[in-house]
């Protein structure tokens, strides 16, 4: 199997497990799911990171912090969909979880300044529009300089 195909297999496995469980799998879990060695999975994680497709947990290459739009840790951007709670990396990614799952979703967000609860919803593959706004603090050219901050 070519390296490209292996990485694609691993990427799809990561996302499928995340969609099915609500949690991003670690290297051992992906190895079990794909019949691969954990060291091969860690190497694939590194290549997928180099291609900007995921972000490993700092200091632990066997775990994933971000498989955009999903977050590997609890964040201020939960997404309720398919009867599960997922976590997104930001408000864009919160909508992204609903788009990736192609599912209705409720997103209990908060105003970035006041902390006031602001609920977003997706129904029938479309957002329930509100007069809210998103603000990106970092220009597009710099998004990946510090993707966790972005």
């Amino acid at each position: 199997m070519a390296e490209h195909d292996f990485d694609t297999t691993i990427k799809v496995a990561i996302y499928q497990i995340t969609a099915d469980t609500g949690s991003i799998p670690n290297a051992a879990e992906v190895a079990d799911a794909t019949g691969s060695s954990e060291s091969d999975i860690v190497a694939a994680f590194e290549r997928l990171h180099a291609n900007r497709l995921l972000v490993p947990e700092p200091g632990d290459p066997t775990r994933i912090r971000m498989a955009p739009p999903f977050s590997g840790i609890a964040t201020a951007f939960p997404v309720e969909a398919r009867g599960r709670r997922y976590y997104a990396n930001c408000v864009w990614d919160a909508y992204g979880v609903a788009a990736a799952l192609r599912a209705d979703a409720v997103i209990p967000a908060r105003d970035g300044h006041t902390g006031e609860p602001l609920t977003l919803e997706v129904r029938n593959n479309a957002p329930v529009l509100q007069p809210y706004v998103a603000h990106f603090a970092v220009p597009a050219a710099q998004w990946w300089d510090d993707i966790v901050f972005t």
């Binding site: 300044h113 706004v133 998103a134």
Partner: protein
Amino acid sequence: MLLFRSEENVNRWCEARGLPRRPLVSLDQLWQMSVIWYGNRLTVESRRPAAGEIASVFSSLGLTDPFWDPKADRWG
């Protein structure tokens, strides 16, 4: 990126941190961005838009400010 109830709250957030106010994105624009970036993320065919495509994607959504120009994207 963060969500705000109003433009006024964005201004207050920026003032409190000494950060510049950037272009605002409506929920409709944000949803369209999400579908373009993530709509096929669970499939074998998924990929993020290439650097050369991103400017036209943003432009198609009405996001034309230089803020959205990814040409300095060093990893693209």
